[in-house]
């Protein structure tokens, strides 16, 4: 384990009021420094900050580390760690640097290739996927985890998405406007 302080500006609120504040010290539960940097760079590239918070703003990388540390068995942890290493090795082969040290353009080039190469998830119904599931590969599964970590974070779930814990009535047909957001729950 190690202590890495990654300076990232804080969450952007819906009102666009930014305040500068150092990100808290993150001591990963499982990932090595290199793995942690790769995970942070990946979630940031997939879900960057715009007018709405990005994945780093809601600590999606920190959450992914926690999930892998506490819910994966040792074998699955090792498998994911190997995949992260391979992903980085791929970037190093092409550009001579690990993914997290690449600039935005080069990161995007790597991900464009990964998007093309990765399988797709079969659709699911009531907890189980249907049909034959093709091999997914590291990138698509990681992206899925990043999206999940992002959408289920409190900042996004409560303040960005449509948060309605007790809807009361059900209305089966409401108009969508520009401001309509995905239901968070």
């Amino acid at each position: 384990m190690f202590g890495a302080t990654i300076a990232v500006p804080s969450i952007v609120s819906l009102l666009q009021s930014c305040k500068d504040e150092d990100r808290r010290v993150w001591e990963p539960e499982l990932f090595t420094e290199k793995e942690a940097k790769t995970v942070s760079a990946l979630v940031d590239t997939i879900l960057p900050r715009t007018e709405t918070p990005g994945a780093l703003d809601v600590n999606a990388d920190i959450f992914i580390d926690r999930i892998v540390a506490r819910t994966y068995d040792t074998e699955a942890q090792k498998y994911l760690q190997d995949e992260i290493a391979q992903f980085n090795a791929g970037a190093e082969t092409i550009y001579g640097e690990p993914f997290f040290d690449l600039d935005e353009t080069r990161r995007a080039e790597i991900l464009k290739v990964a998007e093309k190469k990765s399988g797709k998830f079969s659709p699911g119904i009531w907890g189980t996927s249907v049909g034959e599931q093709e091999p997914i590969g590291f990138y698509r599964s990681f992206k899925s985890m990043a999206i999940w970590a992002y959408l289920t974070s409190e900042e996004i779930g409560k303040n960005v998405l449509a948060y309605d814990p007790i809807p009361g009535n059900y209305d089966g047909c409401v108009p969508v406007s520009e401001n309509t957001m995905r239901s968070s729950l």
Partner: protein, 566 residues
């Protein structure tokens, strides 16, 4: 309504004993208590008091450290049930410990269990449909299994009775193959469901798309609140808006002053007295202290859930019943059924991007059976039939989109594409060889024999599944659904979680275990009114029928008791 009368279990003699507190046990307790019987409910798990013991009912994903994901230890504890895909930290505490209570699968069979007060009534799907004579006459009609000893007319008034109390919402259609319940107002379809409904009904004569009939209150009812469309039912509902033993029947039983619930009481066997030719009580093992205790009663209701009830009966041996209580026919443990499901079709729907919905309705749409319901719809490919459940929603899997970055991130914050799916539920025939048996080699945490399950779907079920998929694809395509994907997740029994049979009702003691009032043929003060009693499986969800059969049997039991017949 707190303070279930637990201490009173120091008393060992009662008028009635009810084994199990799930959907049917709760009804047995309510009916017997209301008719004045001092009733002991034996529950193998802990007390779960309505609302008080629903710790996760209001939690948002970010309120727990792992946002619903199970730890390796939790996965190990539920290593069998986890295959269902339904267990997260929001409901983990309501699922049985597979390590403490193992079972053996000769062929794959998912046995989902809930070992606490209320049982699976806390976790069930809440779809509620009446059976019709198409179902009760099916075995006699095509010769599979034995004839039901009852018909629709015998149970019709009991359906009404339980529906009025439980609160069932739905739309009346007047279909002979799917009789209407006594309905509360139906839930609403969303705009895509309405669209698909109109297209399917126009394209296919005799097919209906209706809102699911379900045990969710759409208006306040009997002191319980209406559904708030949170869709967090399986955590326990703070509004009491869906039917569970915990919210509905057990409080009613408790209110009579006649109810005693004893938790942590694993029923080992029913005690049969050879000389008096009747059951005299039950033996339990205290799950916490391992103490063996006997309780006696005049009448015993077995409602431990289909397979657990049969397990208890198989384990209840005596000189008179060497192979299990009431097993003169040799049918105890046999004719296990479930519904096939996870066969159907899905796709996306264009043209409704400007429409969304408000609320998370815990219900879907239903397509009642339309094949083999009369001469005109008869097929020679299979006997019996199927219905569909399904629905539409805006979802999608954004991870599949070949994009990343700023625009992609903004897109996932918006409602996803409209999707529509239906999945069939098919009737399964009663095969003698689909069975459970006691296994003394594998014992549970309390040293008791466990069950070996040996069951599979056969040719008729496979032929129905083929039709389900073909019809589903055809209907969705005709309805204008795009990217239609038919699916048939080659699966095994248990996944439908509608286990039925293994102590079937029948007219002849030589070929059945129970009579027309759910009495064990040769031990008339023992009643079985959970899914074990089922003689065939219909294609509709069975819980409403368990409720009606239980209320009917309890009424009969009390009347026989008063007459001195049992």
């Amino acid at each position: 309504m707190a303070n279930y009368n637990i201490d009173a279990a120091k008393e060992t003699t009662y008028d009635a004993i009810v084994i199990g507190s799930g959907i049917s046990g709760g009804w047995a307790a309510k009916e017997l208590c209301e008719k004045g019987l001092k009733t002991l409910v034996l529950e193998r798990g802990r007390i779960v008091e309505h609302v008080v013991d629903y710790p996760t009912m209001n939690l948002d994903p970010w309120d727990t450290e792992l946002r619903g994901n199970l730890t390796p230890e939790q996965k190990e504890k539920h290593y069998k049930a986890i295959r269902s895909g339904w267990i997260g930290t929001d409901t983990e505490h309501f699922w049985a410990d597979d390590k403490a209570s193992p079972y053996t699968e000769k062929k794959p069979f998912l046995w989902l269990r809930a070992h606490q007060m209320g049982g699976r009534s806390l976790l069930w799907g809440k779809q509620t449909y009446r059976w019709s004579d198409l179902d009760f006459e099916a075995n006699a009609e095509d010769g599979h299994g034995v004839d039901w000893p009852i018909r629709y007319k015998d149970i019709e008034s009991w359906y009404t009775y339980v529906e009025k109390y439980a609160g069932i919402s739905g739309e009346a259609l007047g279909l002979p193959q799917l009789p209407d319940s006594h309905f509360l107002p139906p839930m609403e379809m969303n705009c895509v469901e309405k669209h698909v409904k109109s297209r399917i009904e126009k394209a296919f004569e005799g097919r209906n798309v209706t809102i699911g009939r379900c045990a969710h209150l759409t208006v306040p009812h009997n002191g319980r609140g209406q559904c708030q469309n949170r869709n967090r039912c399986s955590r326990g509902c703070p509004f009491g808006a869906y039917f569970s033993s915990n919210a509905v029947t057990l409080p009613a039983a408790h209110a009579t002053g006649n109810l005693t619930i004893r938790p942590f009481s694993i029923v080992q066997s029913v005690i049969y007295d050879d000389t008096r030719a009747k059951a005299t009580g039950v033996r339990i093992i205290d799950a916490e202290t391992n103490e063996a205790i006997e309780y006696s009663a005049k009448v015993i209701f077995c409602n431990a859930s289909t397979l657990s009830t049969t397990q208890i009966l198989l384990n209840s041996t005596s000189n008179r019943f060497e192979n299990g209580l009431g097993n003169d026919s040799g049918e105890l443990g046999h004719n296990l059924m479930d519904h096939t499901y996870r066969v159907g079709a899905m796709g996306t729907v264009d043209g409704f991007d400007d429409k969304y919905y408000k609320g998370r309705r815990p219900n879907g749409i239903y397509i009642p059976r339309y094949r083999n319901i009369n001469a005109a719809t008869k097929t020679d490919k299979f006997v019996r039939g199927f219905g569909y459940q399904g629905g539409a929603g805006r979802g999608g899997n954004p991870a599949n989109t070949e994009a990343f970055g700023a625009d992609f991130k903004e897109s996932i914050l918006k409602p996803g594409p409209w999707e529509f799916f239906i999945t069939g539920f098919a009737e399964c025939l009663p095969y003698h060889e689909n069975q459970v048996s006691l296994n003394s080699e594998v014992t549970d945490k309390w040293g008791q024999p466990t069950l070996t399950i040996d069951a599979e779907f056969k040719e008729n079920e496979k032929a129905i599944n083929k039709q389900i998929q073909e019809d589903a694809v055809e209907m969705l395509e005709k309805a204008g659904v795009k990217n239609v994907l038919g699916f048939d997740n080659d699966h095994s029994p248990g996944w439908g979680v509608h286990e039925m049979g293994t102590a079937r009702m029948g007219r002849d003691p030589k070929t059945s275990v129970l009579n027309s009032f759910n009495q064990v043929h040769a031990a008339k003060n023992v009643f079985v009114t959970d899914g074990a009693c089922m003689t065939s499986s219909s294609c509709v969800n069975p819980s409403l029928t368990y409720m009606a059969i239980t209320a009917r049997a309890a009424d009969y039991a009390v009347s026989e008791l008063k007459k001195g017949n049992i």
